[in-house]
């Protein structure tokens, strides 16, 4: 069975990588071979395998326009569900980590999980003091499974590494990221860090860690309320509310980039919990990317629109993006930079005065972004630091797209600007009314 799974997903991955590397015409021909039935089978296999392959499925499903819709629909299921550990296994793993059974520690503990995470599952519980908590339990031995899968993954992508389309540094970055996700103690530190750093965003709600009931494979946190995106959308929220959430999400993303210098890099919809009062709960801090000074400089280049200051500045920006060897003399590099700038200008269309409202319901932004990803792989221009940053960016725009949000992005940027300059201590819940 697992052999069957490995061979199936093996060919599936090969298909995906081919697709990324091949030009659009050949890819189109291959896409037709892909039936819904097979994508469902793939999802089942991915769920069986758990771990990184499933994570990869999630990333692929966030590629929006890059994949055929029927595949996305199937892969999207991966984001919220995974096969459960039965109660006995979950208890055994809990005891293996904390030395006692859950019912010896908590006042009550729900044996059935209410949510699945790719590396484990989440149970509700009530502490002896009566606090409502969620307990995340990791599937046993997931770490060694990931290490094994990556060995396989590395040998499978050897041609890509050889040709330079899939550099080893990218694989290293992915492996480090995924393995970090298996360490719940690291996740607890991430939560504490973000609780402090995101405190100025009054509309963000983050969980609190209970270290006394946590270990490296069990993490107990306070429960965060709210509805996941698909359920929230089913309640027919008003355009105002959708736009408000859109505004918050753009602001959050820029606040993380510019003020926190770290980003919640697992942006799948299940991790955002929407409340009708306009607040957003953010959970699952397993995958967090802390940025290097170089990356922060890149962000600053975009914010300051340095390309408007002449070729030498553009050249500097390009080197920051793709390394010392990159040069505007290389047409591919020039192409990439132009595309990145175009994307930025799509999201921040112009300066005031003027219409600075961006309609994220328009698929153009996501299409553009997928094109850039594809281009960067095809032209061998990559930067390992982008692996998780772009995952977060694309995830944010996918959320905004699903919300069909119209956001005054210049206003969101201004608010973050003023915060950076120290004019604001806290970013208030309501954005300034546009067009005032």
């Amino acid at each position: 069975m697992s052999r069957l799974g490995a061979s199936l997903t093996g060919s599936y991955l090969a298909y995906q990588f081919q697709n990324l590397i091949l030009g659009p015409d050949e890819a189109e021909a291959r896409k037709k071979m892909f039936q819904k039935k097979s994508s469902r089978r793939i999802r089942h296999e991915l769920e069986e395998l758990k771990g990184p392959v499933m994570k990869l499925g999630q990333i692929l499903s966030m590629q929006g326009q890059a994949l055929p819709p029927e595949v996305i629909e199937e892969l999207a299921h991966l984001q919220a569900r995974a096969p459960a550990m039965h109660p006995t296994l979950a208890r055994a793993q809990f005891k293996g980590v904390l030395g006692r059974n859950p019912e010896e520690i908590f006042q009550s503990f729900e044996p059935e999980a209410f949510a699945a995470a790719s590396l484990g599952q989440v149970h509700r519980a009530i502490t002896r003091k009566g606090e409502r908590v969620v307990v995340k339990i990791q599937y046993p031995a997931i770490r060694s499974a990931i290490e094994n899968d990556f060995k396989l993954f590395r040998s499978a992508t050897l041609p890509g590494q050889f040709s330079g389309h899939f550099p080893a540094e990218i694989l290293d970055e992915m492996q480090t990221g995924f393995l970090r996700e298996t360490d719940y103690q690291q996740e607890a530190r991430n939560i504490e860090f973000f609780r402090e750093e995101l405190a100025p965003l009054a509309y963000m709600r983050l969980p609190k860690v209970f270290p006394e009931y946590s270990g490296d494979r069990v993490l107990t946190m306070s429960e965060v309320e709210g509805r996941s995106l698909d359920i929230f959308l089913k309640t027919n929220p008003s355009p105002q509310l959708r736009n408000l959430f859109g505004h918050h999400l753009v602001e959050l993303y820029h606040f993380e980039l510019r003020c926190v210098a770290a980003i919640h890099a697992d942006p799948h919809p299940g991790n955002y919990l929407f409340c009708s009062d306009g607040t957003i709960g953010l959970v699952d801090f397993g995958c967090v990317k802390y940025f290097s000074p170089g990356f922060r400089e890149i962000v600053q280049c975009f914010i300051n629109r340095v390309w408007e200051n002449g070729e030498s500045e553009s050249e500097r920006m390009l080197r920051l993006l793709f390394g010392r060897k990159a040069s505007l003399a290389n047409p591919k590099a020039r192409d990439m930079l132009t595309a990145a700038i175009e994307l930025f200008q799509l999201i921040f269309p112009a300066r005031r005065p003027g219409n600075t409202k961006v309609n994220f319901g328009d698929p153009e932004i996501i299409t553009k972004m997928s094109q850039i990803f594809r281009k960067s792989l095809q032209s061998k221009l990559t930067n390992p630091e982008f692996v998780f940053a772009s995952r977060a960016e694309l995830g944010t725009y996918n959320l905004l797209h699903a919300l069909r949000a119209k956001v005054d992005t210049a206003d969101a940027k201004d608010r973050v600007d003023r915060f950076v300059e120290g004019c604001l201590v806290q970013l208030p819940n309501q954005p300034e009314k546009a067009g005032k």
Binding site: M1, S2, M85, H86, P87, T88, L89, A92, Q93, K95, G96, V97, Y139, P140, A141, I142, S144, A145, D216, R217
Partner: protein, 225 residues
Amino acid sequence: MKRPAPKASRRAQNPASDAGPRQKKKDQTRARILRVALDLFSSRGFYRTTTRQISRKAGIAEGTLFNYFATKEDLALYFFEQELEKLIQWFEREKPLRKAPLVEKLFAIVHRHLEQISPFEDFVGAVYLRALQPASKLHPISLDSQSLNLRYLRFIREVLAEAENEGEIPPVGDLGAWAFALFHVGIVSFWLHDASPGKERTLALLDRSLKVARTILRRGGDWNW
């Protein structure tokens, strides 16, 4: 030369029998011997512990010890019978588990067994090696271990039969119980060598292999030999 087997096996089947005070005292002594022996095994090792040391620590004459357990292997056999008895009684008490799917039940049985024997890991490791010797009383096909094996097989057969009746798995018959017994032994030896934190690799192996087995069984075929 084989010495006559002590009566431990039959006794283990009915540990709480309503025997007289004499019998009760005998059972207590037997339990005490096992307790001190296990202590000694864990501090000195199974092979280096002598029957003399056991009898001295248990406060009985060496000859008396011989009346209870002719060899250290008999002691080990008695240990496993006791553990099996505890396991079966535990399973019968676990009402919610009785309604769980077969995969979970079997997982729970093996996992509970491992939890029970985990304080005596070194001892169990030594006994497992010993059991591989064809002349050993602990060998799976030795006459001395028969009643232990039968008790185990009947227990598993019952659990499997329940799932067969519920239509959870196709009829697997006695072969299913035998196959599971082999698997159980395999898991214990994997567990003995599992150095992962909380022995989580054993948990994963146990879970994954039971699920694979279920998938294979459901795929069809005649397993009832």
